[in-house]
């Protein structure tokens, strides 16, 4: 696994740049990863990221859109506004989680 330095922290990432160890993640890294995607993180972003990290910890997979709707309480529309052009992929990346593998 390649190592890289994000916001002064050394982390391991996969070939696409997703963190491979969620425990190496911290808010500084999230802010730096978000900036790479052209996003400034707001409270609304953090709520999504925190839910995704918590859900991943409990279930071992990145939650899909429906789970974010039903369990997380986030509307699809809002998720596309917060993370344009690919909400789950972008949020997962910023949250230090693996690339989503579900089709829905």
């Amino acid at each position: 696994m390649p190592e890289t330095t994000i916001a002064g922290h050394t982390v391991t990432v996969d070939e696409e740049g997703y963190l491979t160890n969620p425990s190496q993640w911290n808010p500084d890294i999230a802010r730096a990863l978000a900036r790479d995607l052209g996003l400034e993180l707001t409270d609304a972003h953090w709520k999504v990221l925190e839910f995704m990290r918590r859900d991943f910890q409990e279930r071992g997979t990145v939650p899909g859109m429906r789970r974010l709707n039903k369990v997380g309480g986030f509307a699809t529309k809002d998720l596309y506004t917060l993370f344009p052009d690919g909400p789950i992929k972008k949020a997962a990346r910023i949250a230090g989680l693996p690339k989503p593998t579900s089709c829905v």
């Binding site: 429906r66 052009d85 579900s102």
Partner: protein, 166 residues
């Protein structure tokens, strides 16, 4: 992560069939496109129109007759003989089994899926020729249907898009 030149920027997906398995691939493709930042239009035609008809859209079924790939009691079981498939309730049973599996994978029912695609910025249309043939009215459709389009308007909207027929 960001768009690369070899990826389509827009897809126009035509859904022409009205079975459960005829409709879902188009919905998954459209939703998946939006999740990748690709523009998506969904165009429902012929029996595919039932996916956007109020009162019918969540009652789509799997065909248990004329479907030689259908096996029971699971995907690697034995082919369902045509005469058994024709028995009352067989289509409903096969449909219920598949819906249960879809629910486990968090694949939403048709009406909810269309709502999701609509909120994701996908556009949903009905085919004018079919609407006339079936004697339908605008109020027959679920609210996510933006417009009834002629084939000409469909091509105008699809300029530069990849067209996918399902």
């Amino acid at each position: 992560m960001n768009s690369t030149p070899d990826r389509p920027r827009k897809v126009s997906i035509i859904v022409s069939r009205g079975t459960l398995d005829g409709v879902y691939p188009g919905l998954i493709l459209a939703n998946g496109a939006r999740m990748e930042g690709i523009e998506a239009d969904l165009f429902f035609t012929f029996f595919g129109l039932y996916a956007v008809l109020k009162g019918f859209q969540d009652k789509l079924r799997i065909a248990t007759v004329g479907n030689p790939a259908l096996r029971v009691p699971h995907a690697k079981g034995v082919p369902l003989p045509t005469l058994l498939g024709a028995l009352p309730g067989m289509s409903a049973l096969a449909t219920a089994m598949m819906k249960k599996e879809m629910e486990k994978l968090d694949i939403p029912p048709v009406s909810e899926f269309l709502q999701m695609i609509h909120e994701a910025g996908g556009h949903i249309f009905a085919c004018k020729a079919t609407v006339e043939m079936f004697h339908l009215r605008p109020e027959d459709f679920c609210p996510q249907v933006e417009k009834v389009l002629t084939v000409g308007e469909f091509y105008e909207r699809s300029a530069g898009a990849q067209i996918i027929f399902t």
